[in-house]
């Protein structure tokens, strides 16, 4: 049992267990903000357990793509958990392909999920798929350009390298380019994880859905896997935001005490980000679908400005 292996297991465990908790925390905070008591933060665990016990109803129209997709989705998130610096700055698969790999891993999940949306042959599924891939495709350039802005300042594109470089030099973080990249990445996070104002995760009206419409046909253990993966995706994106832009407390060495401290620091950062997200989600309305590209264009402009600022202050 090498320390690296233990760290890998720890990363997967933190992301796997943290995903649903983060979703629950967000729901609780949102409910409190609008004056409801709301569910407890650990409610999603109970939901998942219930879905696992339930019988799955599968449409006769579907093929193996529909049945394989929840597993692929979970697999991409678990592998992504080994690429993102969660509790250590250089996790097990950090060497395997950096942020570009991470982006395309998420795209692998989206690809299968969008196919599954089409597989059942209902109009809602197709609608959700079409919208989801449109949003994902338009968010793509922003992610790369924002990351490029970070990589320019850090001198490496390795995620762990970026974290270590920024943690060692606080002046780099105080740079205005850093804040612009953060804003760009935050908007992209909203789009990629299906939050307001891009998509409303709590909507009950199919015509306004994006993600929920795509997974409408899922039930039972399939739904449990899809929901779990969605929770992990939110966790991973918020962790990226937390650790790339506020890189303190991410241990470079793998030992018990630093990793435990790192987990605590991460928990603190995530709570703050989740609270910000909850405030945002309770204060804005969902955008009309065809206004979403404007939002994404704005985030792209922020990312480009961030890159330009690197040239200016060089």
């Amino acid at each position: 049992m090498t320390p690296d292996f233990v760290a890998a297991v720890a990363q997967v465990a933190v992301v796997g267990a943290g995903g649903p908790l983060l979703v629950g925390l967000l729901r609780t905070l949102k409910a409190r903000l609008v004056g409801r008591r709301g569910p407890r933060p650990w409610q999603p665990y109970a939901d998942l357990a219930k879905f696992l016990r339930k019988e799955a109803v599968v449409s006769t129209t579907t093929s193996w793509v529909f049945r394989v997709t929840p597993y692929v989705l979970v697999a991409t998130m678990l592998v992504a958990a080994l690429v993102v610096p969660v509790v250590v700055s250089r996790p097990a698969l950090a060497f395997a392909g950096n942020i570009i790999l991470l982006m395309y891993l998420f795209m692998l999940g989206t690809f299968f999920l969008a196919l599954a949306g089409l597989d059942a042959g209902s109009a809602f599924g197709g609608m959700g798929s079409s919208r989801e891939v449109a949003v994902a495709a338009l968010a793509e350039p922003t992610i790369v350009v924002a990351i490029f802005a970070l990589a320019l300042r850090a001198g490496t594109i390795n995620l762990g390298g970026v974290v270590e470089r920024f943690a060692g030099d606080p002046l780099l973080v105080a740079n205005p380019g850093h804040l612009l990249a953060f804003a760009a990445f935050f908007i992209v996070m909203l789009a990629e994880t299906g939050r307001l104002p891009v998509d409303n995760p709590a909507t009950h009206l199919e015509l306004t859905m994006i993600h929920e419409a795509m997974v409408l046909e899922y039930s039972g253990h399939y739904l449990a896997l899809v929901e779990w993966a969605a929770g992990m995706k939110l966790f991973l994106f918020l962790t990226l935001l937390a650790n790339l832009f506020f890189p303190w407390g991410v241990p470079a060495e793998v030992a018990l005490v630093p990793v435990a401290l790192g987990a605590l620091a991460l928990a603190g950062k995530l709570v703050v980000l989740t609270a910000a997200l909850a405030v945002l989600e309770t204060s804005v309305a969902k955008l009309r679908l065809f206004r979403v590209p404007e939002l994404l264009a704005a985030s792209f402009a922020l990312a480009v400005l961030s890159v330009t600022s690197v040239f200016l202050v060089r």
Partner: protein
């Protein structure tokens, strides 16, 4: 009979692939026949870059020919043209002087023309006409550029140009580069020279489409590599800038056109434009780094371009063969009339899925590896200390990212609408699986997509060696071990093998855990939820048009869609509608703003010139006299 001819093509392809591989590994030879023809006669030579393209053509010809044994077994037309096509393609990268090159090039164009026109349908004839026009305009550019270079340097052998190019005046190589790049750009389908490609590729039989898209257009890329880096020993920065901008525009515009295209083969043809764009982004990066005196990064960009060239040959050939199988089975190329084919054609669907995932650059398949490499080359552009060049790189980065996202969206559409849900027509409902030979052809290419995805540590060093030979620089020393590919030292590393292993584990462990816990055993089959409607029909499904509609609206400044609504009402009352026709076609900027004005101007001038030809013999005699006098004065 036809089967035998295709077997010959497959064997020849295998031999060519092996010979090319030997060339990549360092075997070199030259065969000359100077007495045969003027201008230096025929001369062929094998070098690493030529060997790479020869191997690529041969390796693509094998599965395409095997597939053709099943696909076109009863069809005797086009067999000879097919063999000539493959042979002449193999000759192009071997050609060592102008005459050999142009002969092979023209033979390849003519053979593919015959293959495009052979079905005799109206659409095919028109496509072949546009193709012939464009390819000969390209040939004229090539001829002019090569003859200029030949007369300036005093030699028609390509290897002599490298030494003789430096004493030329600076505009000389520039002019030659522009002419040759235009000529090769037509063949590669670079926007705005692409108009023939989406017409000609779908019109040919599918195994020919696979070769045209998979390897023939790559010979345009081959030419651009030769002229950009090898023959003239590289050029000023604007060459690289031009190549990268052309690549970015081709990539984004190609995929945008593909998104709103619902003819499966035309969709794939537009993706060929996109992928040539991605290759050119890598090549342009290589040229810019080379010009800036950064050979290691130049090799990275060049290797990325070569890798994507190879990958595109694998997955695009696979997708065209898959589309051919669908066309064979459902009798249509219109995606709106397909659907549900995954149940009747499971093998074709699985192969098409691999191809779709590969072209969408999903890890751990081959498209991902080459796009990753291209990104790594682009992301290091700050080592060139020139803001205007950095800006071009930034455009390339954003363009490549957008292309990646849009390509994923487009292949969700291509696979989802074609293979999933309920069949949208009788023909699709009665579709049948492809025959064994066709399945073998597709299976080989699917395997290639997986292997090329998992083996970058083997492939990249070999590609870097080819690049080192072309650019006359030393090959990089350290690119990592068998598991990990290192790029530029500490900058980045890639291990698709590790990613694949992790993905398989992450798939297997949750699935096994659920199975052991007895979860998921209870499953009920029921119809899709339809808001209470009793019967689900294919008319409730999302169509390809609807799927692409968000993109049409977001990029409406580019597509410029026109809504045509035609409602026929009952003569007695407007409240009774008899028929509604709705169309929302898009228009092509390039045809409207570039080709149509150019053609109109040509027609106008031609009409004016008609006055010269009055039919009067006296007038003609005057022309002759005037011409004679002019010549005498000039002499």
């Amino acid at each position: 009979m036809a089967i035998l001819a295709y077997a010959v093509a497959a064997t020849g392809g295998l031999a060519a692939a092996l010979l090319g591989l030997a060339g990549v590994l360092g075997t070199a030879f030259t065969v000359r026949a100077p007495w045969l023809l003027p201008l230096g006669g025929l001369e062929v030579t094998l070098d690493p870059l030529g060997g790479f393209f020869l191997a690529l053509i041969g390796a693509a010809a094998v599965p395409a020919s095997i597939y053709a044994m099943g696909y076109a077994a009863g069809e005797r037309r086009g067999v000879l043209a097919y063999n000539v096509f493959v042979a002449s393609m193999c000759a192009v990268p071997l050609a060592a002087n102008v005459l050999t090159f142009l002969l092979a090039w023209e033979l390849m164009s003519l053979a593919s023309y015959v293959l495009v026109v052979q079905s005799g349908e109206r659409e095919a004839v028109r496509a072949a006409w546009v193709y012939a026009l464009m390819t000969h305009a390209g040939l004229a550019c090539l001829l002019a550029g090569m003859l200029l270079l030949g007369s300036w340097t005093g030699s028609f052998r390509f290897t002599d140009w490298y030494a003789a190019a430096s004493p030329l005046p600076s505009w000389g190589p520039g002019l030659a580069f522009v002419l040759l790049a235009l000529g090769f750009g037509v063949k590669a389908g670079v926007i705005p020279l692409h108009v023939w490609l989406p017409l000609a590729h779908p019109a040919a039989p599918s195994h020919v489409s696979a070769l045209m898209s998979g390897v023939m257009i790559k010979l345009g890329v081959y030419g651009l590599m030769r002229v950009g880096l090898d023959w003239l020993g590289g050029g000023p920065a604007w060459w690289g800038v031009a190549v990268m901008l052309a690549g970015t525009v081709s990539a984004v515009v190609g995929v945008l056109y593909a998104l709103v295209e619902h003819d499966l083969k035309r969709l794939l043809a537009f993706h060929s434009i996109e992928n040539v764009g991605i290759i050119l982004i890598g090549l342009g990066a290589g040229m810019l780094f080379y010009e800036a005196g950064l050979p290691a990064l130049a090799l990275l960009g060049f290797a990325a371009a070569l890798y994507h060239t190879m990958n595109h040959a694998a997955f695009k050939a696979l997708l065209f063969l898959g589309a051919g199988a669908v066309l064979h089975a459902a009798g249509t190329r219109d995606m709106e009339r397909m659907g549900g084919l995954i149940k009747r054609m499971p093998w074709t669907a699985a192969c098409f899925m691999v191809g779709s995932a590969a072209i969408a650059a999903l890890p751990p398949l081959n498209g991902f590896v080459s796009e990753w490499l291209t990104f790594q080359a682009l992301l290091q552009n700050l080592k060139i200390d020139r803001p205007e060049v950095n800006l071009v790189f930034a455009l390339g980065i954003a363009g490549l990212a957008l292309t990646g996202g849009l390509a994923m969206a487009c292949f969700v559409k291509a696979f989802g609408i074609t293979f999933l849900a309920l069949p949208r027509s009788e023909a699709a409902a009665r579709a049948h699986e492809a025959g064994r030979a066709m399945r073998v052809g597709m299976g080989l290419l699917a395997l290639a997509c997986v292997v090329l995805g998992l083996a970058p540590t083997l492939v990249v060093p070999a590609l870097a060696k080819i690049g080192a030979d072309v650019m006359h620089v030393p090959a990089p020393a350290d690119v990592g071990g068998w598991l990990t590919l290192n790029v530029s030292g500490e900058f980045a590393s890639l291990s698709t093998l590790a990613v694949a292993a992790a993905l398989v584990t992450a798939l297997a462990v949750p699935a096994a855990t659920l199975a052991l816990a007895g979860i998921g055993r209870r499953r009920r089959l029921y119809e899709t939820w339809g808001c209470g409607r009793l019967l689900q029909t294919s008319r409730m499904e999302y169509t390809a048009t609807a799927f692409a509609n968000p993109f049409k609206r977001v990029f409406d400044f580019f597509y410029r869609p026109v809504t045509q609504l035609d409602i026929e009402v009952h003569p007695e009352s407007r409240l009774f509608v008899r028929r509604i026709e709705y169309a929302n076609p898009t228009s092509s900027i390039f045809e409207d703003w570039l080709y149509r004005p150019a053609l109109d101007a040509l027609h106008r001038w031609a009409r004016r010139a008609r006055g010269l030809q009055s039919g009067s013999a006296n007038l003609y005699l005057t022309y002759i006299l005037a011409a004679l006098l002019a010549l005498l004065v000039l002499a």
